[in-house]
Symmetry: C2
Subunit: 105 residues, 2 copies
């Protein structure tokens, strides 16, 4: 079961563009102030650093990811999610577009 829409949100019109456009996201804010982002990662291998803890929820496509301190690549596909600790990092390897919701905190 994938999350196809996020209802009742305020969307930030300016995109976040990372890694020369290999990752593009838009921020959304819920009525209670909760912030998330919806985005896509295009075929690439990238390393992301976290400030706050993050939960990456895949809504379409798939990725392989490896958390900091692990030597194990795992797969996350549509309907699945993985958690990343705060002040940490993860590598992500995408061969088909990976569409996601990023939940913070």
């Amino acid at each position: 079961m994938t999350t196809e829409t996020l209802p009742g949100v305020s969307v930030t019109t300016r995109a976040n563009v990372y890694f020369d456009g290999k990752c593009v996201s838009h921020g959304v804010t819920f009525p209670d102030g909760t912030k998330k982002s919806v985005g896509v990662i295009l075929p690439a291998q990238l390393t992301f650093n976290t400030g706050a803890p993050e939960i990456m929820e895949c809504v379409a496509g798939a990725c392989d990811y490896k958390l900091a301190g692990s030597d194990r690549w795992l797969t996350s596909a549509a309907g699945e999610r993985f958690s990343v600790p705060g002040n940490s990092s993860f590598e992500i390897r995408v061969t088909e577009a990976y569409h996601y919701i990023c939940h913070f905190g």
Copy 2:
């Protein structure tokens, strides 16, 4: 005056990826059913075809554009918008990321 947020919308979590990622957008639906999209075009020169008429509103960055049947390039920057007829096309030339809201109809 730029439109920084679109409040009270439902956002489609899966991105629209065009031209190998040179254009990425997310669809949004308003409570009355009106659909728009928020997106970004990265440095490139692209040709877009329209079905419905579109109004392209720039929220950050800038572009040059040329409507079908015109030989004149015009510039659109943050806070500005241009209209494209339905069943037509336009060329767009972007040298810095062009962030937009696309209004249909």
